[in-house]
Amino acid sequence: MKVFETPIDPEEVGKLRVGDAFYITGIIFTARDAAHEKLLGLDDSQVPFDPSKYAMFHCGPAIHKVDGEWQVVSAGPTTSIRMEIFEDEFIERFGTRVIIGKGGMGDRTLKALEKHGAVYAQYTGGAGALMANAIEAVEDVYFLDELGIPEAFWMFRVNKAGPFLVTMDSSGNSIHADVAKKVQKNLEQLKKEL
């Protein structure tokens, strides 16, 4: 399976299509609702890292300090649709091209993925131990005091983190939208059989 190293070549990201699975080695940063809102509210000069170089992970980790060092206990994905109201603007402004979460996102994000050659990939919900195992180090954390543990930007150095399954691509495809349509059709049929 494909293993990308960050910063991921934008051309490679643009080639990814729904159904492709990949792993990441390098840096992944976490961002939930409050983190999106925080970064979008800052001037460029105040942004503490370059979000275009790394993959974004919708995640609020279980993490604690052991002998002064941060240790990740478990780090699965959080529900991505909460970030729908921020994501198109975030992609537009900061150039992040790989977004990882669970449950999929909506039309606004899908359009932004198309415009900027980006992808949304699903990491398996609840698979927090597997991700924690792939995290080699906590490189940095930003706005921890202000945002708290789950909402802060955690910069994780990872080795073969994944698998990440592309469920929304830069050609306008969305597995989430396709499955929802199929399920509704199946539901109508199944109700007739009752």
Binding site: G128, Q184, K191
Partner: protein, 288 residues
Amino acid sequence: MRHNSLENRLVDAIRRAVTGVTPETEQRLRAAVDTESSDAPKVQLNAILENIDVGTSESRPICQDTGTPTFFIQAGSDFPRLGELRDTITRAVRRATKEVPLRPNAVDPISHENSNDNTGRHVPVIHWDIIDGDAATIHVIPKGGGSENMSKLVMMTPGRGLKGVKEIVLEHVAAMEGKACPPTIIGLGLGGGSDLALELAKKALLRPVGQRHPEPQVAEMEEELLEKINRLGVGPMGVGGATTVMDVKIEYAHRHPASFPVGIVPQCWANRQTTVHVDPDGKAEVTQ
């Protein structure tokens, strides 16, 4: 000393619960891989299985949401430690929060403050059944927020009958999409009042995956729903596929003639459960 021993076993039971899934759940997930014909659901199931291996072998919580500490207790009325059981469980939850560790998941709804130790008003959540005898069985079922958010109560018009129940369940599981982290287990509580329907739905989840209700008509309905839900095609983590649910569990109570409460409580694939058996002398054993 004996008392401490029970507290220790409870901490152990919580640790074992959050670092793995029940054996029947793992078997069912393994079997599901072969029933999927496309790659996307296989990727999700294999990641789930690999995640369970990591959690169990490293004694690491399989999911960062270590749930609301929830306990179902069958205690004999002559169990000598009945009066102190709630305090013992509360102390065990506090210790487990530090020692496992668990994510602090108890928030005051009025002040929004997190207690930071997984205890608080009515938490840990304890459901009591007082039975004959002098021993106690404590079921530990930490319940994740994602699947709990997909719980539902419908006060159905009784005239819709069991067909109405099946429609409600199918419609709801379709609407859940990938949100409750499928493949899920659906707990279904029929009848009672509104409170009992939801309690029975959650209690139904205690029955091991694959085990049918002892009454043939109820067992048949469980099987019919299992088969039909899996034809919806939601699939593992909502990416499409043959395994949307691992099982459907029904419990029921008599109802008021004018009411037909239907309670639905889904459990995510991370079906984390252990059981502690306690002797009258306080000797405790953890099983899965």
